[in-house]
C-alpha cells in the first residue's frame, strides 16, 4: 500500500521550456517549468522581487508589469508565452539603476506610498498611463486594477497629476 501511495503521490513529469525575453532592457534566457507564471519567473528565477503577489488571480494588481509596454498582471501570464517579448518591472521603470521614473518620484514626494505592497504595481500602471498619452483624469479608471487598501488613492492621484505635469514639461 505504501508503494502504491508513493506512486500515486509522485508529481507528474513536467517538461521544461527554454525561453528568451528582454527584462528591463536586458536580454535574458531561462529554462522553466511548463506551468511557470511570469510572476514566478521574475521573482524566483530573475531575482526581481519588486513585483509582488497579492492574490494570484489577477484581482489585486500587485504583480503588474509591462509586457511589450502594456500593463498586465504577471500572475496570469504564462512565462512560456513571453518568449521573444519585452518585460519591464518596477525595478526597470526609471530606465537605469538608481533612477526613478517621474511617477515614482512623485509618489515619494506626494505621500502616495503607505504599506508599499501595492506600490510597485501602481507605479507600473501609472507609468503606462503616462506613456500611453492618457490624461491623468483617466487615472481613476485605469488604476482600478491596482487595489490599494491604505491610501484611499487620493495621494496616488496627486502624484499622477504631478508626474504628468513633469512629463509634459520635459517634452
Amino acid at each position: 500500500m505504501g508503494e502504491d501511495r508513493r506512486q500515486a503521490a509522485r508529481a507528474p513529469e513536467v517538461e521544461r521550456v527554454r525561453i528568451r525575453l528582454t527584462i528591463n532592457g536586458e536580454a535574458r534566457g531561462f529554462e522553466v517549468a511548463a506551468g511557470r507564471r511570469l510572476l514566478d519567473l521574475l521573482r524566483d528565477d530573475a531575482g526581481l522581487i519588486g513585483t509582488k503577489e497579492g492574490c494570484g488571480a489577477g484581482e489585486c494588481g500587485a504583480c503588474t508589469v509591462l509586457l511589450d509596454g502594456k500593463p498586465v498582471t504577471s500572475c496570469l501570464v504564462l512565462a512560456a508565452s513571453c518568449d521573444g517579448h519585452a518585460v519591464t518591472t518596477v525595478e526597470g521603470l526609471g530606465g537605469s539603476p538608481g533612477t526613478m521614473h517621474p511617477f515614482q518620484r512623485a509618489l515619494v514626494t506626494h505621500g502616495g506610498v503607505q504599506c508599499g505592497f501595492c506600490t510597485p504595481g501602481v507605479a507600473v500602471t501609472g507609468a503606462a498611463i503616462l506613456a500611453g498619452g492618457h490624461q491623468p483624469a483617466e487615472g481613476a479608471r485605469l488604476l482600478a486594477g491596482n487595489l490599494c487598501r491604505c491610501t484611499g488613492y487620493e495621494k496616488i492621484f496627486s502624484a499622477l497629476e504631478a508626474a504628468a505635469e513633469e512629463v509634459r514639461r520635459d517634452e
Binding site: 517538461e15 506551468g35 507564471r37 494588481g61 500572475c75 504564462l78 482600478a144 486594477g145
Partner: protein
C-alpha cells in the same frame, strides 16, 4: 506557484496549432490566459498540454466585405480603442473597456472571453446585438456559427474537441438613426463581474417607432441571451410608457436568473427591467 500542466507547445501557424490540439491528449489553447490561468490553478479546468497561441497572427480588426472580422487574439484594450469599433459598434467598445481592469483588458482576448463561456461575459451581449458569428477552425476545416447558438451553458460551448476560435464576424450595422448602449451593474464601478448586463440596439424611425430592435443580457440565464420576446414586441412600436412597461413584463420570460452569491434572482429581474427601460427611454428621446 506554477500552474499544474505538464507541457507547453508553441505552434507557429494555425495549421500547426490545430494539429497539436488534435494530437495532444488533454490539451487546451491558451491566449491571454486571464481566465484559464486561474481556473488551472484552482482545478476548475485542467490540461496536460497548453497550446500557446502567442506565435499565431490571430489579432487585429479587419474590414471585410460585409462588416469587420475581429481576430480571436485581439485584446479587449485594442477593441476598446479601435476607432471603427467605437464608431460602429459602440456597445462592444464600451463593454471591452469594462472587462476586468485595464491590465486584464491589455491581456484578455475576445476569443478567450467567448471560449470561457461565462454567463456574465461582458463582451457577449454587445456581440449578440450585433448579430455576430464565430469562425471556428479544426483540422477538418472551418465553420461559421451564429454567436447566439455558440453557448450551451455556463463554461460550455458547441465547440468540438480540437476546435479553435479564429475570429468573430460582425456584419455591417443597419443604417438609419441607431441607438446602441451597453450597461452593466455591479457593486463597484470598475473591475467587477456583472450582476446583470444589457446591450441594446435599435433603429429609430423619423416617426419614433423602433425597428430592428435587438436586446441581449448577461448574467440572467445560464448563457448570455437575446431577449427575443421583447424584441418582437417592440418592433414597429414607439417606446412610450405603456410599451416599455409591457416590454419589462415580457422580458421576464426571456430571462431565467438564479440566486447566487453575486445577486438574488429577484434583484436580477428588477435590474434587467430597469436597464431595458432606460435603453428604451434613450430610444424615445
Amino acid at each position: 506557484m506554477d500552474v499544474p500542466v505538464q507541457r507547453v507547445v508553441r505552434p507557429r501557424t494555425l495549421d500547426e496549432a490545430l494539429v497539436m490540439l488534435a494530437e495532444q491528449p488533454r490539451s487546451r489553447p491558451i491566449a491571454g490566459g486571464t481566465d484559464l490561468m486561474v481556473q488551472l490553478r484552482d482545478g476548475r479546468r485542467s490540461a496536460d498540454t497548453l497550446v500557446d497561441l502567442d506565435g499565431l497572427d490571430l489579432a487585429g480588426v479587419h474590414e471585410v466585405d460585409l462588416g469587420v472580422e475581429i481576430g480571436a487574439a485581439t485584446t479587449m484594450d485594442a477593441i476598446a480603442r479601435h476607432p471603427l469599433v467605437r464608431r460602429r459598434w459602440p456597445a462592444l467598445a464600451e463593454a471591452a473597456a469594462l472587462v476586468g481592469a485595464w491590465p486584464i483588458q491589455c491581456r484578455a482576448t475576445l476569443g478567450g472571453n467567448l471560449a470561457n463561456a461565462s454567463p456574465a461575459a461582458d463582451a457577449v451581449p454587445p456581440l449578440l446585438v450585433a448579430d455576430a458569428a464565430v469562425r471556428l477552425a479544426s483540422p477538418s476545416g472551418e465553420r461559421t456559427i451564429a454567436l447566439e447558438r455558440f453557448f450551451r451553458g455556463p463554461g460550455t460551448t458547441v465547440m468540438a474537441p480540437g476546435e479553435l476560435i479564429v475570429a468573430v464576424l460582425l456584419p455591417a450595422p443597419s443604417a438609419g438613426r441607431v441607438v446602441e448602449r451597453f450597461v452593466k451593474v455591479g457593486p463597484r464601478r470598475e473591475q467587477i463581474i456583472s450582476m446583470v448586463s444589457l446591450a441594446g440596439r435599435a433603429v429609430v424611425s423619423a416617426d419614433g417607432t423602433l425597428h430592428d430592435v435587438r436586446v441581449a443580457l448577461g448574467a440572467v440565464a445560464p448563457i448570455p441571451v437575446r431577449a427575443r420576446r421583447v424584441e418582437a414586441h417592440l418592433e414597429g412600436r414607439r417606446p412610450d410608457a405603456a410599451t416599455r412597461r409591457e416590454a419589462a413584463a415580457r422580458l421576464q420570460a426571456d430571462i431565467a436568473p438564479i440566486d447566487d452569491l453575486r445577486a438574488p434572482a429577484a434583484y436580477r429581474r428588477i435590474a434587467a427591467a430597469v436597464l431595458l427601460d432606460r435603453f428604451l427611454e434613450a430610444c424615445h428621446g
